[in-house]
């Protein structure tokens, strides 16, 4: 009933994050019903992204230029380095428009049980960047999970050995719109400990 080409397309679409076989079918039908507007532009875009977008050799960001536009920008402070777990985290921080330094994407976090060690992450390239002497301050923007904080402690130790004295991490506490009654005791306790004078 369905041609093999279409079946392959549906299978590929249904493997994408957030999609299943039904959504795969719907998207495939939508693309075929809008050949000229959506399908052709999507095909071109996918091809271009596949060819041009690469991992930045400096920070690990995804961009069509290498080094990426963030690393090349002269308007960004090259003495501050923000370490993030993934490109998605980098994009999240960029959405805030409140950080104007450089980034370094680790590509994961240390996890002893899952067999992820320092050699599996972009840690050696991070240390190489820090050895140049251009980095004055490092911001550890990793997730507030056990693995994220274990990585935080590991990096803090090693970065101090490299002579980076100004190391900070993201604050933890009450989120905007959060109600105290619904927060867990750990988050509340951390929020109390990191309270600030108003």
């Amino acid at each position: 009933m369905i041609s093999s080409e279409l079946k392959t397309l549906i299978q590929l679409l249904s493997k994408l994050p957030g999609l299943g076989p039904r959504s795969g079918k719907r998207i495939a039908l939508h693309l075929l019903q809008n050949r000229n507007t959506t399908l052709s532009t999507l095909t071109t875009s996918l091809q271009e992204v596949g060819i041009k977008v690469k991992e930045c050799s400096v920070c690990g960001n995804l961009d069509s230029q290498d080094p990426c536009i963030l690393c090349q920008s002269s308007q960004r402070d090259s003495s501050i380095l923000c370490i993030v777990e993934s490109v998605a985290d980098l994009w999240a921080l960029e959405r805030t428009s409140s950080y104007k330094g450089q980034y370094h994407v680790l590509g994961g976090v240390l996890s002893a049980l899952d067999g992820v060690g320092p050699e599996d992450l972009r840690i050696s390239s991070l240390f190489n960047r820090c050895r140049t002497g251009a980095i004055q301050e490092v911001i550890l923007a990793l997730n507030a999970t056990v693995e994220g904080q274990t990585t935080n402690h590991y990096l803090t130790e090693r970065l101090k050995e490299l002579g980076i004295s100004h190391i900070s991490s993201l604050a933890r506490g009450v989120p905007v719109g959060g109600e105290l009654d619904y927060l867990d005791e750990g988050t509340l306790s951390t929020a109390l400990l990191s309270r600030r004078r108003v």
Partner: protein
């Protein structure tokens, strides 16, 4: 079939996009694994060391099953800024994950594990960790005999342990075999959990338990999280115990 229990999260692994395979050390059912299909909010609960009220359900007993959780307490948030206790927590959960067989109840060990989790916020967290490892060895059938000298029977001045038998010996017996026995820190035979020994004594204790965990219990190298804990103590010793 279905049951309810209280347990502590040992390990989580992503399954597909949203689901997690969660390994839980429960009070009455031992270490159990199941699938938890939560959202981004409930995913935040799933930190190792978090205590949960859990319901496990499956059509058949040998199925992997599904979890339903209600968080009881999360000690993890308090430890995130403490490298030592955090490393101890990760090491203890990693050891339980690799050493405990699935679906075998160890209520006594669970009690010890809970005590250790409580102690993580206290000054004697390191000794508590050592006693937890000793309890793990004992519960799984490889307990060490550290109350009296295996040769003379005396209970005082126990300084070393035989790597072959796991029995303690006093100083007079140990002297001719120096270098071939494992050092026994004094806080272990004294069973003084509230003691705050030097970092070198903790390292000696970790060498002792690590030897038997690796050789007898696991039969393979210790988990990297355990090695990282030892490195943490080496660093603390170099900073604090410097003459």
């Amino acid at each position: 079939m279905e049951w309810q229990d209280e347990g502590v999260i040992l390990h989580t692994q992503t399954l597909g996009e949203r689901k997690q395979i969660v390994s839980l050390f429960t009070q009455s059912h031992g270490r159990c694994v199941g699938v938890f299909g939560g959202n981004s909010k409930t995913k935040a609960w799933l930190q190792c060391g978090g205590k949960m009220k859990a319901r496990w359900g499956a059509r058949l007993e040998n199925h992997i099953g599904y979890w339903t959780f209600e968080p009881l307490s999360t000690k993890t948030a308090f430890l995130l800024d403490e490298p030592g206790p955090l490393a101890a927590l990760v090491s203890a959960t990693a050891l339980c994950q690799v050493a405990l067989p699935e679906r075998n109840a160890y209520p006594h060990l669970f009690e010890k594990f809970e005590t250790f989790l409580e102690d993580l916020r206290s000054p004697h967290w390191a000794t508590s960790y050592v006693f937890f490892e000793l309890a793990l060895l004992e519960e799984l059938g490889y307990g060490l005999s550290l109350e009296a000298c295996a040769m003379t029977g005396v209970t005082a001045n126990l300084v070393a342990v035989s790597p072959r038998t796991g029995n303690a010996v006093c100083e007079a017996i140990a002297r001719p075999y120096q270098g071939r026995l494992l050092p026994l820190p004094s806080f272990i035979p004294e069973k003084n959990i509230k003691n705050k020994p030097h970092h070198q004594e903790i390292l000696d204790a970790l060498q002792l338990t690590g030897y038997f965990l690796e050789r007898n219990l696991l039969g393979r190298p210790l988990p990297p999280a355990r090695t990282r804990l030892v490195q943490q103590f080496v660093k603390m010793r170099n900073v604090h115990d410097r003459p």
